[in-house]
Amino acid sequence: MTSTTAAPAAAPRLKGRPGKGRRGKAGWNVLGLLVFVVMGFPVYWMLNTAFKPAKDAIDPNPQFFPGTFTLENFRRAFDVADFWGPVARSLAVSSVVVVIGIVVGMLAALAISRFAFRGRKIVIVGILAIQMVPLVAMIIPVFLLLNEFGQYDRITGLIITYLTFVLPFTVWTLRGFIVNIPKELEEAAMVDGCTRTGAFVRVVFPLLAPGMVATSVYGFIQAWNEYLYALMLMSQQNQTATVWLGNFTTKHGTEYAPMMAGATMMAVPIVILFLLVQRKMAAGLTAGAVKG
C-alpha cells in the first residue's frame, strides 16, 4: 500500500512549482496522504489493538484491519487496577488547578497587558523565565518540601505543585488574548460612562470568554497529562490516571492489548477536548510572539 503510493510522488516533486495543473496537485495530494498515514498510524494502531482479541494482538502476522471486534480488552483494563479512583483524582486535581490558575492568572494577565507600571518588564521576564525551568529540575526540592510539610501523597500537595506549570502558562496565554482586544473598545465604553471595572466586565470579558475557555481546557489537559510529579508525589494506592497506565507492565511483561484499551480510554476524551480548542489555542500560544 505505502510502496505504491510513494512511487508517483517523486515525479511532480521534481517540478517543484506549486499549482502546476492537475498533475501537480495530484502529486502533492499523494505526498499529503503519505503524511496523513505516517502521522496517523500510531493512533490507528492503538485503536486497532484495543479492539481486537488479545491473542490476535500477538499474532506474528498482525492484521491491519481488525477481523473480530471485541471489548474484552476494556474489561481486562478495568480489572487490572482500580480505574475510576485514579480518574476521579486526576479530574479533581486538574479542575482545581485550572480554576485557581484562571482566576489568579486572569488578574495578573490584566495587570501586565493593560497597565503601565514600573517593574512590568521584570514581571514579564520572570513569568517567562519560570516557564523555562524544566519540571524535572524541580522534582527534587519539591519532593523534599512536600515531605517536610506533610503533603506527600496528598492531593493538595499535587495541586500546589501543578500550579508551577499551569499558572505561568495561563498568565502568558491570557495576556496574548487580551492584547488582541482593541483597547479602544474599552475606552469607548468609558467615554460612554462606564467605570474601568464596568468597561472590563461589559466589553472585554465577553470578548475574552472564548480565549479563557480555550486556556482552561488546555491547562486542564496539561495537568491531566502530567506524569512525573504524579508518579513521585503520590503513592501507589493514590495514583492518578497517567500513572495508572503503568499497571499493565509487570515483571512478567506487558499486556499490550489491554494497555491499548486503557490508553484509548485515557486519550480519546482528551483528544476530543483538544479538538474543540486547538484552533483558538494555536492562535493564543503565538499571539504574544507576533503581536504585542
Partner: protein, 331 residues
C-alpha cells in the same frame, strides 16, 4: 527584492483581530501604549499570582540551589542528621565525572537532532498543506491534532508497542521488504538506536504544534510579494528563501527556542520506555539527575546536575528572552 526583504523582516505579520463582533471595527494600531493607571492597581492585581509563584516556584528553586551546596542523602531525608554545607564539592564531583560529560554530549545530540527534525518536518508539512486539496488538508489536520493532543504517556505506550521486539508491527512491516529480516529485532538493545526511537516519538508529538503555528504564519505571507519575486525570476526555492522565510523568522525563532526547552526536558518518554530504569546508555541530563537523587539517594548531587541543566538551558533561553523583550518594547 532586497528592499522588500528588509521591510518585511522588521514588520511582524499582523494577525486579523478575532474580536470585532460587537463594537465598531477599530483599526489596530501597531504601537499601543498601556494606559497610565493608579500605580498600586497593577500590583494589587499581580499580588495573588506573585504570591503563589514565590511559594510554589521560588521557594523550591532556592532550595534547589542550597541543596546543591549541601550533603543531603537518606539520613538527612529521614531527619536523622542535619544537612551539612559542603561548598562546591557536589559540583566538582559532578563536573569531574566522565559519565556526566557523556550524558551532556548525549543530551545535546538528542536535543539538536529532535529540534532539527521537528522544525524541518514542521516546515515541510506546513508548506505541503498549502498545496494539497481541501480534503487532504482536512485529513492531515485530523492526524496532527490527534497526535498533538495525545497524552505523552499514552504516546510512549503506543510507540513501545509498535517497536516491540517480538510482536511489534514495525519489525513485521520491515521484514516484508525484500531482503530484510527484522523479526525479533530489539530496538532498545543499543543506546543510540533506542534513543533514535525515542527521538521519533518526541518529534511525532512536537511536529503538530509547529505545523499549525507555521500554517497560521504562512497565511500572512502576501501573495503579491511572492508574485513579484517570481516575476523577478525567483524559483520555488528563491521565493521561500527570500520572501517566506524572512516573514516567518520571528515565529521560527520562537518555535525553535520552545522546542529546545521542551526537548531538553524530555523525561517520561525515556523513563517509561525503559521501564522506569534507563540503562547508562539511555541517560539524558533529566533522567541522570533523577537517578542520582531517587535511585542513588544522593539528593544534593542530583540537585547539582539539575542546576547545571538549568544553566545550560539559560543560554538558549537568553535568545528567546531577547525576542520576547522586543515585543514588550513594541507594546
Amino acid at each position: 527584492m532586497s528592499a522588500a526583504e528588509t521591510t518585511t523582516a522588521k514588520v511582524p505579520p499582523t494577525r486579523p483581530s478575532p474580536t470585532p463582533r460587537t463594537g465598531p471595527e477599530v483599526p489596530g494600531k501597531p504601537a499601543r501604549k498601556p494606559s497610565a493607571g493608579g500605580a498600586a492597581v497593577p500590583w494589587v492585581l499581580l499580588a495573588p499570582c506573585l504570591l503563589v509563584l514565590v511559594l510554589v516556584m521560588g521557594y523550591p528553586l532556592v532550595r534547589l540551589v542550597t541543596l546543591s551546596f549541601q550533603s543531603f542523602g537518606k539520613s538527612e531525608l529521614w531527619g536523622f542528621k542535619e544537612a551539612e554545607w559542603v561548598g562546591l564539592k557536589n559540583f566538582t564531583a559532578v563536573l569531574g565525572d566522565g559519565e556526566f560529560w557523556a550524558v551532556v554530549v548525549r543530551t545535546i545530540v538528542f536535543t539538536v537532532g529532535a529540534v532539527t527534525l521537528t522544525m524541518v518536518l514542521g516546515m515541510v508539512i506546513a508548506l505541503l498543506m498549502q498545496r494539497v486539496s481541501g480534503w487532504v488538508k482536512a485529513l492531515i489536520s485530523i492526524a496532527l491534532v490527534a497526535s498533538w493532543g495525545m497524552p505523552i504517556i499514552v504516546a510512549t505506550a503506543i510507540f513501545k508497542w509498535i517497536f516491540d521486539t517480538d510482536y511489534g508491527v514495525l519489525n513485521w512491516l520491515l521484514s516484508k521488504l525484500p531482503g530484510v529480516d527484522m523479526g525479533g529485532h530489539n530496538w532498545f538493545a543499543s543506546g543510540p538506536q533506542g534513543l533514535a526511537v525515542i527521538m521519533l516519538l518526541v518529534v511525532w508529538g512536537a511536529v503538530p504544534f509547529v505545523v499549525i503555528t507555521l500554517s497560521a504564519g504562512l497565511t500572512q505571507v502576501p501573495k503579491e510579494m511572492e508574485e513579484a519575486a517570481r516575476l523577478d525570476g525567483a524559483g520555488a526555492w528563491g521565493v521561500f528563501r527570500w520572501v517566506t522565510l524572512p516573514i516567518l523568522k520571528p515565529l521560527l525563532v520562537m518555535l525553535t527556542t520552545l522546542s529546545v526547552i521542551w526537548d531538553m526536558g524530555v523525561f517520561p518518554q525515556v523513563f517509561v520506555m525503559r521501564g522506569g530504569n534507563p540503562e547508562a546508555e539511555f541517560q539524558l541530563l533529566t533522567t541522570y539527575s533523577y537517578q542520582k537523587a531517587f535511585v542513588v539517594n544522593d539528593y544534593s548531587g542530583g540537585s547539582a546536575i539539575a542546576l547545571v541543566t538549568v544553566l545550560l538551558l539559560l543560554g538558549v533561553v537568553a535568545v528567546y528572552m531577547r525576542q520576547m523583550l522586543k515585543i514588550g518594547e513594541v507594546e
